[in-house]
Symmetry: C2
Subunit: 599 residues, 2 copies
Amino acid sequence: MAPQQTVGILGGGQLGRMLAHPAALMGIPLLILDSGAATPAKQVSLAPAPHAAHPDGAFTSPDHIRQLARAADVLTVEIEHVDADVLAQVERDGLCAVQPAPATIKLIQDKYLQKRHLQRHGIAVAPFDAVPDQPTAEDWSKLERQFGLPLMVKSRTNAYDGKGNSPLKSLTQEDITQTMQSLGKNKLYVEAWAPFVKEVAVMVVRNVNGDVKSYDAVETIHKDSILRVCFAPLRVSTTGGRGAGGLVDVNKRAKELAERAVATLDGAGIFGVEMFLMADGSLMINEIAPRPHNSGHHTIEACDTSQFENHLRAILSLPLGSTALRVPSAGMLNLIGTSDSMDPINKAVQAAYETPGATVHLYGKTECRKGRKMGHITITGSSDAQVRSRIRPILEAMNDLSAPFIDALTTPPPSATPSAGGYSHPYPLVGIIMGSDSDLPTLLPAARILDAFSIPYELTICSAHRTPARMVTYAKEAAGRGLRCIIAGAGGAAHLPGMVASETTLPVVGVPVKGSVLDGVDSLYSIVQMPRGIPVATVGIANATNAALLAIRIIGSASPETAADLAAYAVDLEKEVLDKVDKLEDLGWEEYAAKVLKK
Amino acid sequence: MAPQQTVGILGGGQLGRMLAHPAALMGIPLLILDSGAATPAKQVSLAPAPHAAHPDGAFTSPDHIRQLARAADVLTVEIEHVDADVLAQVERDGLCAVQPAPATIKLIQDKYLQKRHLQRHGIAVAPFDAVPDQPTAEDWSKLERQFGLPLMVKSRTNAYDGKGNSPLKSLTQEDITQTMQSLGKNKLYVEAWAPFVKEVAVMVVRNVNGDVKSYDAVETIHKDSILRVCFAPLRVSTTGGRGAGGLVDVNKRAKELAERAVATLDGAGIFGVEMFLMADGSLMINEIAPRPHNSGHHTIEACDTSQFENHLRAILSLPLGSTALRVPSAGMLNLIGTSDSMDPINKAVQAAYETPGATVHLYGKTECRKGRKMGHITITGSSDAQVRSRIRPILEAMNDLSAPFIDALTTPPPSATPSAGGYSHPYPLVGIIMGSDSDLPTLLPAARILDAFSIPYELTICSAHRTPARMVTYAKEAAGRGLRCIIAGAGGAAHLPGMVASETTLPVVGVPVKGSVLDGVDSLYSIVQMPRGIPVATVGIANATNAALLAIRIIGSASPETAADLAAYAVDLEKEVLDKVDKLEDLGWEEYAAKVLKK
């Protein structure tokens, strides 16, 4: 191999471990600075010759950092709580390059300065202010007038995974004392409570040459301020609601905001940008991590290039890898210790082994502790609904999260039996829409077919002429919400299918509904005779069964599982007819005809 | 972590290295027996406590094997050229379990015995016979009469990667001597030359409990008997030909044959089964490897569970992981030394860094040699055509394979310009078919639209009434050949779209062609009014433009890239009309109307 630059990593935990894998694949020599000979990262990375071993010492130790800098070509971090001043010195002394820039690491260490920096660059953040040292009652009152209660009081430094946050519910001396004590001696600041509808994260990577790429936004779900579950891609669902104009293109806007924020920071590498999505569709940045981030772990299995590989590419002036998802849908579940027992985690791992598309990532930590990240599990699948149904038994096996929490994450279909409402689902692949509830009897067979194939769908009313705004919103949001196909039924002038097709890139299947005159031919012509440029896939008059089967064929064209179900359906259809052949043979055609006519 | 069984691996090369990664993820302690402290596998796996290091010794050494057996719970192999007798002894002595069974390893080591074993179990293999020790001229004549020339003379043992094969072209003393010398002192056997159309491989995994799963068949492409490139899933293309009835369901039959062959062998683990696909569609087994295999390397990125993880699960009585592909299409390219210079490999790696969906796997070997496997590159993509276009620049960068070889593998579209034949492609996503060449003028706009979107397609004639057998074969093979959608144009009775839809699970788009009477309404009704159960997506009369756009929407429903192209197309359509609005405004409507009427 051509001589590669040696990368020195400050920190040998799980992020270092996950960096070590692509480093080995690309032949990049690593030196990992951490205390102990068998930290998570060191377990999977032999020190490269001529080094007998990885450096054994604290990643905060100036001497060890300097020694590492002499042996490496580039230093990077897997944790931001390092001595940024030493890193700056190392760079000034020309010992080696440091990525990302020490100034960036230093800025990010102080959440108050980080937020002020973003605000000065015109990046939206939740309102915040500093808390004076030894604040007086008057200081607190002023902050309360500014932000209301509860006041989110936070440590400016050394805060992570929920540590360093304390909501102040009232200004009684008791509450103030308790908050101050829980946050220790750190400098403090205050944030307004952000009434977000979702938490969102975007990983952004920039290489030494300044090339920038970002990954698709993901939904992050926290409990007690610790990331528990993550879903990719982000879905902003307004299903069942009456349309919400501001939620279109959240992914695109989140990526733009994240890239804009990272553009204000110096240095190469990957950045995790956490945001709040508000009810009006606006986005605010919560905080930025200058390193691989928990909200990007799914990229190992789910994306063309993982966040870890892209971090290494970025700091080594290699071309950035594609950030595209290579699977339709993915989820990530953290394995967090609930006590010193590994039992709940072992149970989750066992459940994962039984789950198709699940990959277990244990971090090789020998001791389990409450709140400690022991590993994670990635789940990939052909749809959001499938990923959610796959993650559910693993969450349940952990016996850590409450049932309502798990329900909210996975929201299973109520039941696949028609009587219980069918396979109607919050993460549908097919949308069945009609201009009026009078079309419902015609469209219902479509729902029944989707039930039979366990294809998640939604069914709603959306009139081209009476709710044109709702129709446009529905059509515009459909692809981003994960739909693969829309079935639209309409009668008479029958504009709905064609108008919806004009506002989406999804295939739209049109079902001509038969009216009181013209036998449905009017609807058929209105739906099928679209102008060049906007196609509608038209099925026979009132043939919603075929509309659903067409939607399933569309899904099946990219899903071998669904295609296999369709093949089985075709065999059933054939058998049904062949059984009649046998019966006709048995009875003789005269008797058979008599029976058929009697019906 | 709960105490895990320790796995001892005989051999610390690249297969051991690729086993070490999932072992770390699952928390499985490994002990790797090989000579040297930093073999490919040992570089990425610290010996677990209390062991200070992995055992340093030859994996053929009985003493070292026994020592390893005492320290491990299960022994396995990453190479079959081990001392199977010692392994059997270790098992008999109760030192530890060995997987797969030593008897299986021993059987497979002798290719002649392996073939005889398969033949006795009724598994199809190419005709073969033993060569007596010190064969006489009469022995050779007899073999020549039996098999014809050239005789494929092979070593029974120690043969791999093309070593141990020598074709005997004539029975002159000179040729015989040369062949005998090239094969050394090994025992020999002879095989009939198998005039295969493709080489195919299936990975089969069986766990200790006897559960069996197999991966989808892949196409393997060898040069000088060394695997160079591999494509998944297997495509058996008869495009441009006149239909070949025997080639349907090759994947299913290959999996069944591989599972049947592995069922005759004892022990748990993964098995690589190499086969020949003959012109008549029959399959014959070439050979079996009782370990992870080069033809399964793509499973790391492309499948739910890699062959390496499934091997570990199999020997440790864990549930087997899903073997399903999680991406639509994948390829694998071996990085094989051409000399002691790493230059060609470094160039391929550099090209891979520039290629979306490519993952580099270097094996950490310090010295490059001609014929040595230094690494591989996996490529994933949304279609076969995309994978082939992505692999091409990497193959070219290696500067090792000849241009015709690369062309044959990747067969790029001739050109995207209409004059040069469009984006017609041997690995199409869309098939445009018509009952007669008189329909060509109507269907041509579909091809032009697909050209404009760079969607690979094929265009051919297929008449429901005049070539019914061809139509059935075309429809039956379409999904297995990688098509996602069929556009069928027909006029009058217009049976083609509906009949094709009856023989495939793919979505079929029907284009009603206008005849000399009835204005195309006859065709429209014939195509759209399908019976319940078999849908055809019907577009407007003679509107092949919309048929192609619908096909692209179908592809785009599972491909964000294609969906983005569709969104851009919609913007262009809008702009085209808005430009006319501006022009009408500029000229005034009287003058505009005059211009329009003049045309």
